[in-house]
Symmetry: C2
Subunit: 211 residues, 2 copies
């Protein structure tokens, strides 16, 4: 039975799960969630996920939320992307947690504030503050990637899917990959993986639909 | 051999690992990190953890960073706190990721800005913005805890350790447990666990030392 991923194109967190599904070879399909129309704030959606967040993954009687948990589930089912030793497995989880805390969380928020919120509703002072914190996160990732093709070990893992979640989008939020040569090279490695797709090609919905 | 946890009292992220270690019965000791003296920004510390963050756990030849990874490691070693079924295990991970993204990350930052940064250095507009986001997170957690003693299943798990990380501290950051009856009751459940200690009793260093 086909795995369903409730998602929308603009969500980098959904992209982390969608990309892992796509490259894993599992049979899956995207179900569009109308985030900008308020669907995740409705009681029907909160019934599925009290956190009110996309993505949600449904595989028969298993319902998962949080992209990190979905990535672990895909690894459980396929043996892929979780690292090849216990040490690598821990290192993969380390970067997934770091990403959720320090990279994707502020990146997603800053991109939202700068691109999807009317200019007069943007909270004063928040964007430069968050961008300064993000710069520290890019520095950490770029430094780690020096001399490496992948975040952990010799192959693509959930750590790569997690950290790249918001980094392919065209909407400006203060990240320019050309400023970070190791991140830039690593993003090329990921997008060269057979079957890779850009978030707007992998999931339904994009700003173009609302233009 | 005794597990070492590099930590300091004010770190709620370190508390998540310290509390799991303490209640697990494993032999561990705290090693003080002078965060406020700049130790985590020094090259020697960055050698240990490129992320520049506390906590760091060292168990013989295993060095771990990210409290979530430490909690998983403690579960691996002891069989405790990880949930009793695959479903519970995923649900524990779900709340750990959610916490890292939506609760502890903004709570720790807001507490830092309001209590540990000179007033003239506090960035304009950031505190009320983050407090509004935190209110949504408290609402999610409080709603989930209605009719439950623990976040997952019938016993204390890593989900509880993770989500409570910043919630016992006395420094004000906009969280008053009396406003959230289910969170309040749940925090009482955790602190009634045999061996429980307050962060300033469990780890070295507190604002009192610098007063």
């Amino acid at each position: 039975m086909t795995i369903k991923l409730y998602c929308f194109g603009e969500s980098g967190n959904a992209y982390k799960a969608a990309l892992a599904l796509e490259l894993s070879g599992l049979d899956w399909t995207a179900v569009y969630v109308d985030f900008f129309g308020g669907e995740t704030r409705q009681p029907a959606f909160r019934e599925i996920n009290i956190m009110g967040e996309v993505p949600v993954l449904v595989d028969r009687d298993v319902t998962l939320t949080q992209s990190g948990v979905m990535q672990m589930y895909i690894t459980e089912k396929t043996g892929k992307f979780g690292g090849t030793t216990p040490e690598e497995a821990r290192e993969v989880m380390r970067w997934m947690f770091w990403d959720n805390h320090k990279l994707s969380s502020p990146a997603g928020m800053t991109r939202f504030l700068m691109n999807f919120l009317p200019e007069d509703k943007r909270p004063e002072g928040v964007i430069p503050f968050t961008q300064a914190r993000l710069k520290a996160a890019y520095t950490t990732l770029d430094t780690h990637l020096a001399g490496r093709d992948w975040i952990v070990g010799d192959a693509i893992t959930n750590a790569d899917f997690s950290c790249c979640g918001y980094l392919y989008y065209p909407e400006p939020f203060g990240f320019d990959r050309k400023d970070w040569p190791n991140i830039d090279r690593w993003l090329d490695n990921i997008s060269a993986a057979p079957g890779w797709k850009h978030p707007y090609d992998l999931m339904p919905g994009s700003p173009a639909d609302r233009a």
